[in-house]
Subunit: 418 residues, 2 copies
């Protein structure tokens, strides 16, 4: 069975929002072993949607659309799907009732426009929306299925999980594509490929695909098999060999960000952390606290953005700032010590750097960042040079600081044993 | 002239990365007044890419592809484009030379695979890559143009701006679609539509389209005109009328996030800010410091994640924590006061809440957040209730706290005059 994903919305074509739904659905279809070779985006135009759907229905048996189910005039997905199949729209009473109930429960005023969302193609099966007012729906016709889901991810994802995934699992009748991703930091894509070139040349099942972005390299191992366990058995020996060659640079698997790995290591070792940030402005603390349960190890963050704050909050010496400058090894180390001390943590982690676009000089260019780590008895500092826009430099700096901590916790830094 | 955007990459179909390139190119084409009705994503398969390109070339005169230009075996865009046009690939010497030079300048080892990137369809014009090794290229054939750009945004965007935009501007021969987006917080989509229903009913040029996500509602005004000035003249009176009705809720225009507006207001009023964060973990500081020049007004952030840190760093009283709990009006206010004082800032801004998924109770459910603001003589606290996953609650909480500050700075909070 071949599937296609349709994203509906003029705001997508105009680039006013980024489409995360297609990526989510791509992952879900892969997990279910359903091939998806096309994703399409069309605007809020029923005629054009219907035409694109008809083209897609010639080559695929399953189409999932997101977006265009709302109450406003430019929400045209139900009309477009109906038109593609030559069906009329009709009021679906149970959905209308559900909308009235939800609005009453939330004390929202009822506006007639809300009812528009209950008009579905005749014969469609409504999919309940546990979060919002717009129901989804599913229409079968001539061996093809179109499934239409709302655009907002907090509505779309639960609806997919509750109503669509079980249906598709039955429909696809087994077989799976399973991927495992190894994530690397501190090493470039070309060098990884060079170290793995014999494996890449020999690949067939699993396939080995590299992908680099923003200081992170991912290697995706993808196996086709009858079920997930069999796919995992195919992947395991290849993964083991890659780990043997490049263990020091592996920061996590699948969608595990560095903050997940660092959190796990801190919890395992029962250690607490305080962070002192300058150029990242709070991003390291934000990333650490994206992980539920971070309060077990993350005690405090101190963003010393001004020199005054570096002195008052972090105990950086006036003289160090004057002699070495705010972006220096010495200040990074004093910040790490200061954060550790003032929060009473086992470990202090710090960064200071120049995020740009202004503030750089020949000696200290934009992108220069120092990361430092301090324990009660040891400390270590490393220099990094990043390129790119301000947000990218902040992102890479936060990742490098967290990776410094990972390397220390995993025993890869001889200078500091934790 | 109709355009289409192609994103090439199996990692996109599998949902392993989110496609931001299509959104970027959508915005650029709109700015140039070029209609774009289709976006397509295909995997790393030259045959399938060629087939989809041939379909697109039947309905559109301009196709821009991103991705698949790298050095590895699964980078197939040049091959796919060549095949779609019935052309061969050949080594493009100046591009090969540029790759060798760039690698040498960076002290990267030269790997023969790098040269693969210099094989372009015969007759193609190479587009220099100011950032990476992969050149882009442009092929014209039978009145149609395919422009292929690299996938990584830090390479793709400069190449588009330097080489593609000037070319397209000439090609499109004037005419423009201009959009202006008004951004709202603290009011729902339905209520906005209700307040604007006469304007929405009467709309033609500009069109008025609402879009809601994560506590933010955007109203997009889009005008078609001969040039941007004329489009702006069409939009201005409609925008003025919307502002007259809903000024209090407007937090910015176009891609102006709340942190941009808050930064501008603080700079105008020559005020300094310190932030005390609990549930947002550093996200408010991160957002404020995404704006270049934030050091003019943002002095320090203090993330008191544990109760001990709230006491030690922010001066929250033991008794308040015991009597009211960490998530309470009283603690939020003490945090705001503490941050202001310890950093010597004019204003202290604080939040404390429950980001979930654990830690909620019937009295204090997940999503309950207090935002507080303190000056030398006044203070104010507001309660918010958010729904969704942990990251969404953190995001909304950071936005609500920043919006509280905006409302205070713009004079919408009678309790606090700044």
């Amino acid at each position: 069975m071949g599937a296609e994903i349709f994203s509906v919305g003029t705001e997508l074509l105009l680039g006013q929002i980024v489409d995360t739904n297609a990526a989510y659905l791509g992952r879900q279809l892969a997990r279910l072993g359903i091939d998806c070779f096309h994703q399409t985006t069309v605007g809020d135009n029923a005629e054009r949607l219907a035409q694109s759907l008809r083209t897609a229905l010639l080559r695929s048996q399953l189409i999932i659309t997101t977006g265009g189910l709302g109450p406003t005039e430019d929400d045209v997905t139900a009309a477009g799907v109906a038109q593609a199949f030559g069906l009329e729209l009709a009021l679906h009473e149970p959905s209308a009732e559900a909308i009235r109930r939800l609005l009453a429960a939330r004390n929202f005023p009822f506006i007639p426009a809300h009812l528009k969302q209950a008009y579905l193609p005749v014969g469609a099966q409504a999919l309940p929306n546990p979060v919002g007012t717009a129901p989804g729906f599913m229409v079968e016709n001539a061996g093809c299925v179109v499934i239409s889901l709302p655009g907002p991810p907090p509505e779309m994802q639960p609806m997919f999980e509750q109503s669509v995934a079980p249906y598709l699992h039955k429909l696809s009748g087994g077989g799976t594509i399973h991927s495992r991703v190894l994530r690397f930091m501190g090493i470039g894509e070309s060098l990884i490929e060079d170290k793995l070139k014999d494996l890449i040349a020999a690949q067939s099942n699993p396939t080995i695909a590299p992908l680099a972005s923003h200081g992170l390299v991912r290697i995706r191992l993808t196996a086709k098999a009858a079920d997930e366990a069999e796919a995992q058995d195919l992947i395991a020996p290849v993964e083991a060999e890659i780990r043997r060659r490049l263990a020091e640079f592996i920061i996590g698997v699948d969608d595990e960000d560095i903050e997940v790995t660092v959190g796990r290591l801190l919890r395992e070792k029962k250690l607490t952390l305080a962070v002192a940030e300058s150029c990242t402005g709070g991003l390291i603390g934000h990333r650490l606290t994206n992980i539920s349960g971070a309060s077990d190890y993350f005690l405090a963050g101190l963003v010393g953005y001004s020199n005054e704050a570096k002195k008052a909050l972090l105990g950086v010496a006036e003289k160090t700032l004057a002699d070495r400058g705010a972006v220096s090894r010495e200040v990074a180390l004093e910040m790490a010590r200061g954060a550790r001390k003032s929060a009473g943590a086992d470990i202090g982690l710090a960064d200071t750097g120049i995020a740009g676009p202004t503030g750089g000089s020949e000696a200290k260019p934009v992108g220069l960042v120092y990361g430092a780590i301090a324990t009660a008895s040891q400390e270590y500092c490393e220099e990094f040079r990043f390129r790119g826009e301000r947000d990218l430099i902040k992102w890479q700096a936060s990742g490098a600081a967290l990776n410094l901590l990972r390397r220390a916790l995993e025993g890869y830094l001889p200078e500091i044993a934790i």
